[in-house]
Amino acid sequence: MSAAHRPAELLEVQGLSKRFALQRSLGDVVLRREARVVRAVEEVSLQVARGETLGIVGESGCGKSTLARCLVRLYEPDAGTVRFEGQDALALQGDARRAFNRRVQMVFQDPYGSLNPRLRVGEALAEALRVHRIVPDGDVGARVDALLDLVHLPRDAAGRYPHEFSGGQRQRIGIARALAVEPSVIIADEPVSALDVSVQAQIVNLFLELQERLGLALVFITHDLRLVRHVSHRLAVMYLGRIVETGPTERVFAAPRHPYTQALVAAVPAVEPGRRSRQAAVRGELPSPLSPPPGCPFHPRCPLAQDVCRRDLPALRERSGDWPVACHFA
């Protein structure tokens, strides 16, 4: 899919970078060493259109959660732009920023930590409705019921506390809270990875259904390749803060072009007996984001690595007209 054929982008990110400076130790101060910097997200660009799901996959430390938090401005990026409906979202302040947040919501990973344990479910939903005056005060109760219906929770859930629910039910509550303010984009950061397999499927289906009904744009962040294949139209694979490959999900899965994507796809245990092998998909450990290797970040683990990979960072660009890959040899 080239840019010309795409519908109008709802959320557009250009060159986004986020770094975290680590606290200097006493030794560092004495020796006048600079604070060490984690380059969590490096020059990430992506787009999401209305009704579309972008899957972002990667392993721990690849920056996918930091990216999610930058998109909703829980973190302020160090460089780059985030445009929402063409408007520079990073420059918004005060009411305009609140209005932006109303449209771009987030669903969190931990269904236990993301709900205030002292608020009844109904109170938590009503609070979101009231703060943004989504409905007149008199209609709040009816809207809370409607939200619970939307995520398939019983209406009497409104009177109960989060600890009375299972993990999957809590995640439904988190989704209802995000939907309360009528967003057009939802950033879901590992929304099902804390749940059991059979419950994961329930939540994934809920996302698919809600997207269909409400026309939401969804950024679905996960480490689980099997899942991302099920939910996303397009896919972005991250490694050490950078996107290394991005394209239409099915086609990327069918013929991954970056050696890391290939390794990732091969490493996922298939629910398919009779494919037992002793050969690991990829060697080596994930490098520390504190000291990323020079050149291509994947070169120490890459079977194709040459001198150029150790020296030059490959740009993320379309090679031979398919989809963008950041590899000298793709």
């Binding site: 829980l74 920023r97 987030m106 969190f108 236990y112 993301s114 002292r118 609070e127 009497d156 009375e164």
Partner: protein, 274 residues
């Protein structure tokens, strides 16, 4: 899941502690109703009487009834427990909430202040301030307040540092909630438990402190009855009349037990099953 859990089952420790404190409170608010004698009336016909039917706790060198004096002293001691701690509780909680949430320079300044305060023994610091201001209850409250809020603030700050990273706080920010709402509706209620428990202990400690200062002549002034003052009164007669010091001492211990039981109970009551 569908049946609502019975929400208020009071923990046993809260019931026991509450009962003790309620008894103290009755003594404190209406000593006249409970005390058999006038606590400051001299009775030269009954000097230094050991405990008996007429005087269950005995009498002192002026023939004053120790039971009545112990009861009357509750007024001042409970007052100390409350007045010496409420100011630090409120001020410390708010400051701890703010420095914990916002961090930055205020937090660094606060950190140094904590270092400064904890290096001095609390009692010595309070005595020094009272010595400057002059003895008396009000000056004691001021002295305790000037130092005491730091402990609440330190506790609160620690709680907030943990809670501010919880995703429900992040969710509040993403939902565009104002900072006051996040601080007071989402963080404060979840941080309240250790603060309230500490408050209970602190009230017991305040009574001990008030008694210590009373004993030293820096707190409540005679002839007002205060447990520390009563103990000080009896110290010269301890070998002949142990009851003058022992019964107010027991009252202090009982108050301490009451507060700490109530503290445990509050902790249980506010425990959210996660």
């Amino acid at each position: 899941m569908t049946a609502r859990m019975p929400r208020l089952r009071l923990p046993g420790s809260l019931v026991a502690g509450g009962a003790i404190l309620a008894l103290m409170l009755v003594c404190a608010l209406a000593p006249g109703l409970v005390a058999p004698y006038d606590p400051i009336a001299f009775d030269y016909t009954a000097l230094l009487q050991p405990p008996s039917g007429a005087h269950p706790f005995g009498t002192d060198q002026f023939g004053r009834d120790i039971l009545s004096r112990t009861i009357a002293a509750a007024t001042i001691d409970i007052q100390i427990a409350v007045f010496a701690t409420v100011g630090p509780l409120v001020v410390g909680t708010v400051i701890g909430l703010l420095v914990g949430y916002y961090g930055g320079i205020a937090d660094m300044v606060f950190g140094r202040l904590v270092d400064l305060v904890v290096t001095f023994p609390f009692l010595v610091l309070v005595i020094a301030i009272v010595a400057v201001l002059g003895p008396g209850l009000v000056n004691m409250y001021i002295a305790v307040g000037v130092v005491g809020w730091v402990f609440y603030a330190r506790l609160m700050r620690g709680e907030v540092l943990v809670l501010r990273n919880h995703d429900y706080v992040s969710a509040g920010k993403v939902l565009g909630y104002g900072e006051a709402r996040i601080l007071f509706r989402h963080i404060l209620p979840n941080a309240a438990r250790p603060i309230l428990v500490y408050w209970m202990t602190d009230m017991a400690l305040a009574i001990l402190l008030g008694s210590s200062l009373g004993y030293l002549g820096l707190g409540a002034q005679p002839p007002a009855a205060e447990w520390g003052v009563l103990i000080a009164d009896g110290k010269n007669f301890f070998s002949q009349a142990w009851w003058i010091t022992v019964f107010p001492g027991i009252a202090i211990i009982l108050a301490g037990i009451g507060f700490s039981l109530a503290g445990d109970g509050v902790a249980d009551l506010l425990d959210v099953k996660r």
